[in-house]
């Protein structure tokens, strides 16, 4: 994991979304009134003040706002997300020391992100324990959610002050994006600019990432260049890329299910004609990617997904021997499974009836002996002519 995080930090240096992350509240764009309301809440905060619930769609700066305001008011922020507050015991383990022993920890502030991600019954008292804490705040508590209309948010909403964030008007996003492009000394055609903004649907982070992907992209700035590329074009373009930046852009443009992304690289690699040491290296990387995906699924900590592309980028070698393949077995083997497999299945069902066995027992236990016997001419079976080919084929293989 250390190796991964080192590489990640190197990549982050290049990411515009990190480079241009607001450093102070006034660096942010849009939602001026909610921003002012949060500042006012912090300025007036005293023990017992109702906690704050920030509600709004993803990518518009709720989390950034919480971090910046904590920094600006000199709080030590304790950031949690829904996966940390699943059970009552876990909540108490993390938050009781903060709530009860303030002086030891400096000036703490609690931020719980994605509270709408807490599952009602699936969480062992997590939601109820959180509400108990929200009722008697001894430190500033800010929670964030994408949607407050859910049933499970009802009890939380009763004990908090809600501030709603809205999507940012597209033209304001355009001004913000043009400012970044100017600082980077790069240009984007007006058509592409509008399309990037429309596509990001008010999500600033997504807009900046899409723009960077387009600017550093493997494709020129055409109207379709940042459309989601399909998995086949993506894998082929990745291995054909002339630089690691180009390969990274391809990876980011492949906006598909992470499982499908890992599978596509795996099947393409294992069916390619590459030497064993290289194959081992590639499989090691696929294994790392698979492990992080497994961890995401197990913990539901989807924030880890941001590291997936940074792991997969290690596959980049400008290796034109690798081409996209959907299936993770070689064609001769796939053909054999498809055609010979059907014939063996049919043979086994006939023989199983004769021998009073199940088909699978016949194939796994008896078939090799039957084939030997037929070969040594100690057994003659009265079978249909269609089975002649497959029996001969299997007899050759048995040697």
């Amino acid at each position: 994991m250390v190796r991964v995080s080192l590489q990640t930090s190197q990549v982050i240096k290049l990411m515009w979304s990190e480079k241009y992350r607001p450093q102070i509240i006034s660096d942010m764009v849009g939602n001026e009134e909610p921003r002012a309301a949060i500042m006012e809440w912090f300025a007036k905060w005293k023990k017992g003040t109702k906690p704050l619930l920030l509600v709004g769609p993803p990518g518009i700066g709720k989390t950034t706002m919480a971090y910046l305001v904590a920094k600006q008011f000199g709080y030590d922020m304790i950031g949690l997300n829904a996966s940390d507050v699943r059970s009552k015991s876990r909540i108490n383990e993390i938050l009781t020391p903060v709530l009860g022993n303030v002086s030891v920890l400096g000036i703490p502030m609690i931020f719980v992100d994605e509270v709408d991600g807490i599952h009602g019954r699936g969480d062992y008292g997590g939601a109820a324990a959180l509400v108990d804490i929200l009722k008697e705040p001894t430190v500033p508590i800010v929670i964030a959610a994408n949607d407050d209309s859910l049933e499970k948010m009802k009890n939380i909403k009763k004990v908090v002050t809600t501030i709603s964030f809205k999507r940012i008007p597209p033209r304001l996003l355009r001004v913000y994006l043009e400012n970044i492009l100017k600082k980077e000394n790069v240009k984007l055609s007006p058509g592409s600019l509008i399309k990037v903004i429309d596509k990001s649907r008010g999500d600033i982070r997504s807009m900046i990432n899409l723009t960077q992907s387009l600017i550093n992209g493997f494709n020129p700035q055409t109207e379709i260049s940042f459309e989601k590329i399909n998995v086949e074009d993506g894998v082929n373009a990745f291995f054909k890329a002339n630089s690691i930046d180009e390969a990274r852009s391809v990876l980011y443009s492949m906006q598909i299910n992470p499982r499908d992304k890992i599978n596509a690289f795996y099947s393409s690699i294992v069916t390619s004609d590459i030497d064993n040491p290289t194959l081992a290296k590639y499989l090691e990387t696929i294994s790392d990617a698979d492990m992080i995906y497994g961890k995401i699924m197990k913990t539901q900590n989807w924030r880890l997904l941001r590291y997936l592309n940074d792991i997969l980028i290690k596959l980049y070698q400008n290796d034109d021997r690798i081409r996209y393949t959907k299936y993770n077995l070689s064609w001769p083997l796939l053909n054999r499974i498809r055609w010979d497999g059907a014939k063996i299945k049919s043979l086994s069902s006939v023989m199983a009836k004769k021998l009073h066995l199940s088909s699978s027992a016949f194939v796994s236990i008896c078939l090799p002996y039957v084939l030997f016997c037929i070969k040594n001419k100690t057994l003659e079976l009265e079978l249909e002519e269609t089975f002649g080919d497959i029996i001969e084929k299997e007899m050759e293989l048995i040697q």
Binding site: S26, D27, E32, R35, A43, P169, L172, V175, Y176, I194
Partner: protein, 96 residues
Amino acid sequence: MKFPGTCIVCNEKIPVNEIGLWAKGLGVKHEKCAQINELQCIVCGSPAGCPQCEFQENCDIPHVSQLCICKKCSEENDAFSSYQKLVNKKFPILNS
């Protein structure tokens, strides 16, 4: 209104006897919320010119942050700096 409802635009309650515009499958909204809104330019204070905006099709006016920037102000040099200056002037607490 025969029955009380919640406005789908502003999320506020609409009491009985008040005028509300209802559509099947959509819900109800206040009369004033049903009027076509236009965003305001934070820089010059005039309407942002939403009917002529290049993003008109993709801008959900009632559901976006209500301060925008008009075409003229957005095309000026350092438009983002002007935006920031005006935001800080209008909301001094953001710069405290």
